[in-house]
């Protein structure tokens, strides 16, 4: 029965004619290019271009190096800057090694590696990214996606194993210097799942830069039913709302909700996106008995929260309608994407073009007028002013050298790992199975709730050091854990110190206010 039904379902999934046509045209164009450009000639031209780039880069790197702010000095001190910390890392004996002469420039950005280390199961890289164009494209709201060879290997292993949800790395922006347009960043990669991974050398690439990312997390949104429209249109046999005067606008953006109303007894909400903005809006209906802080994830048409029956859930069961299970709250419906051309809606699912001032996205929720009483509505917005990707088209995606903006360097091992075992680590009513400290920071193992919320402090040469969480690993992707559930079992959580530390000099080490003796 399952096989028959699967085939019945899949029979409905076919590529649209426009996709087939467009793909054939792109293939033909690619084939013409391929046969028109002999490989040897192309290679020679590329080599010449590369040489020119190297020369230009060498000249500009020299010029820019002098302008880079004192981030290197902040980290490593050594008397070369005015902002050196009280105990420069290199003098403290920890092995977070200062790295010199590892820099690259691409697309008007300069990448410079300042320091790096590994401890056998994780690696840490401090680097700066500078906009050399003077256009100030970077700020503290940028999001950088670095790629390393080790990360690629981990990702592909995870993909081969069928798991898709481990997070292996974190990338934090630690400081921004507006005068030079520079960011100081820290990259941490957890490699404990890979045995015998070579951490002595890495290729480090900037995979993507997302400029000026702005987010407004879930905020309540009052829907005034007096503004609901009853005007509808037909789009490929479906009913959508007629874009009207904006019933709901948001500060600082032209993106807005252009229409809300009911069609065929279902709630429709229509978003209008102007061509010149890069902003996404989401609306989430959430059952009134669920407090926003109980929602563990939300997006599209579904919110997740811990197992709990809700008024809307009970109502839906009573009505004999499908629910998406009692650990998630699914208001499943449809979504439509269209342009308006001469007063008529035209499906825009397959083509990305603007025919008018706005493009429209309409969500249809399985909520009737009578059921509105059960829901509160929340909105989320995210924008960026541009996303720059440095993956070279057509290259092997398994290889970090496929990224155009990269540098390679050696990592020395951080030493002096201090470790305590489970018996002595009862903290805050729970138990941590281990805590280890080295020059890169603190690694805590234990149940997720305790391990992820650990407040760690210590004294280092008389000054208070604080630690911030970077990565959680160890969340299984077993049969019973899906995106719809939260795992609360044992995990490994890494915390980075707010400065380079020598663990031998650390005193008064506490977790959640309780002193932990280090030996």
């Amino acid at each position: 029965m399952l096989e028959r039904d699967y085939k019945e379902l899949m029979a409905q999934v076919t590529p649209c004619a426009a996709l087939r046509t467009q793909t054939a045209e792109r293939m033909a164009e690619e084939e013409r290019k391929r046969t028109a450009a002999p490989r040897a000639r192309g290679t020679k031209r590329l080599a010449a271009a590369a040489l020119a780039c190297v020369l230009v880069a060498a000249l500009s790197l020299t010029a820019v190096a002098a302008a880079v702010p004192g981030f290197r000095e902040m980290l490593f001190g050594g008397g070369r800057g005015e902002t050196s910390p009280s105990t420069p890392l290199t003098q403290a004996g920890a092995k977070l090694t200062e790295i010199e002469n590892a820099a690259a420039e691409h697309d008007g950005f300069r990448l410079e590696i300042l320091g790096a280390a590994h401890d056998g199961s994780s690696m840490m890289v401090y680097y700066t990214l500078t906009d050399t164009t003077g256009e100030n494209r970077l700020n503290e709201n940028a999001e950088i996606s670095p790629i390393t060879g080790q990360f690629m290997e981990l990702q592909w292993n995870a993909a081969e194993n069928g798991s898709g949800e481990q997070s292996f790395y974190s990338n934090d922006i630690l400081a921004y210097d507006p005068e030079t347009g520079s960011l100081l960043c820290r990259y941490v990669l957890d490699t404990q799942h890979a045995k015998d991974m070579d951490l002595s050398h890495t290729e480090f690439a900037i995979g993507a830069i997302h400029l000026d990312v702005q987010r407004i997390n879930w905020q309540p949104l009052a829907l005034d039913e007096s503004q609901f429209t009853t005007e509808t249109m037909e789009l490929d046999g479906e009913t959508v709302l007629k874009p009207g005067a904006s019933p709901l606008s948001f500060d600082g953006t032209e993106t807005h909700i252009s229409a809300i109303g009911f069609a065929e007894n279902r709630l429709h909400v229509q978003f209008a996106y102007p061509e010149n903005e890069n902003l996404d809006l989401s609306l989430q209906p959430i059952d009134k008995v669920i407090a926003p802080e109980e929602v563990t994830a939300a997006g599209g048409n579904t919110a997740k929260f811990k197992r709990r029956e809700t008024e809307a859930w009970r109502k839906r069961q009573k009505d004999g309608r499908n629910s998406n299970g009692d650990q998630s709250h699914s208001i499943w419906g449809k979504q439509y994407f269209f342009n308006m051309e001469n007063g008529t809606p035209v499906n825009a699912s397959d083509e990305e073009f603007f025919a008018g001032s706005y493009q429209y996205q309409e969500f249809e929720y399985e909520i009737s007028p009578k059921e509105m009483q059960y829901y509160n509505f929340y909105y989320f917005q995210q924008s960026n002013s541009g996303a720059l990707s440095y993956f070279a088209e057509g290259q092997d995606s398994r290889n970090v050298s496929s990224y155009e903006f990269r540098v390679s360097f050696d990592l020395n091992a951080a030493n002096r790992v201090e470790e305590k075992t489970a018996e002595s680590l009862s903290v805050d009513g729970g138990t941590l199975s281990s805590v280890s400290v080295n020059g890169m920071g603190v690694t805590v193992k234990g149940d997720r709730e305790l391990a992820e919320k650990a407040v760690i402090t210590a004294l280092y040469n008389g000054e208070t050091v604080t630690f911030s969480k970077t990565i959680t690993t160890g969340i299984p992707t077993s049969d019973d854990i899906t995106a719809f559930e939260r795992y609360d079992g044992p995990v490994t959580v890494r915390y980075a110190a707010d400065r380079p530390i020598d663990p031998a000099e650390l005193t008064d080490f506490t977790i959640n206010g309780e002193e932990i003796p280090l030996s």
């Binding site: 699967y6 590529p15 087939r20 293939m27 690619e30 391929r34 069928g162 997006g299 299970g325 499943w332």
Partner: protein, 161 residues
């Protein structure tokens, strides 16, 4: 005469549905499936592979489709910016009872189930295709089916109460 276009249309004609359905089964939304579909056929042109047999050609397209899907899943920006929950808001045929349950099925089962059910491949063929031991393929098939059945049963129980 537009020979490259005709050749492209012939290749697409042979593998279009197979590539698209597999991409869709893996990625669970049309937008991503569209991207992978184009990427697979463009790779065919760029690599210009030669095939020993129609089976070899079919296996190449299936393998490349799976690789492209993995590449999309592994994309750093996707992993960082799109919550998994959001990425599985598929626009699969909504009226089918299997739709919701397939979206919740861990990815490692969906590839095996799709190749077995839709492509009618044997365990040994899937084993060769995915570089997995036959025992692993069998257990994933069995576990995937069991998961689906269990969830479907649970769903029916809810509706009936």
């Amino acid at each position: 005469m537009n020979e490259p276009l005709e050749q492209a249309e012939q290749v697409i004609g042979r593998h279009s549905d197979m590539v698209y359905k597999l991409a869709f089964a893996q990625l669970r939304n049309r937008s991503d499936a569209d991207d992978v579909y184009q990427e697979v056929f463009l790779r065919y042109v760029r690599k210009a592979p030669t095939f020993e047999s129609p089976e070899h050609e079919k296996a190449w397209f299936l393998r490349v489709t799976l690789n492209c899907c993995k590449k999309l899943w592994a994309s750093p920006w996707r992993r960082h910016s799109v919550p998994l929950e959001e990425s599985i808001q598929a626009d699969m045929p909504e009226n089918h009872y299997l739709t919701e349950e397939l979206k919740k099925l861990p990815l490692k089962y969906s590839a095996v189930l799709h190749l077995f059910y839709w492509e009618d491949m044997t365990v040994d063929e899937i084993s060769a295709m995915l570089a997995l031991r036959p025992g692993t393929v069998k257990s994933r098939l069995s576990r995937g089916r069991e998961l689906l059945r269990k969830r479907l049963k649970g769903e029916n129980d809810h509706v009936g109460t």
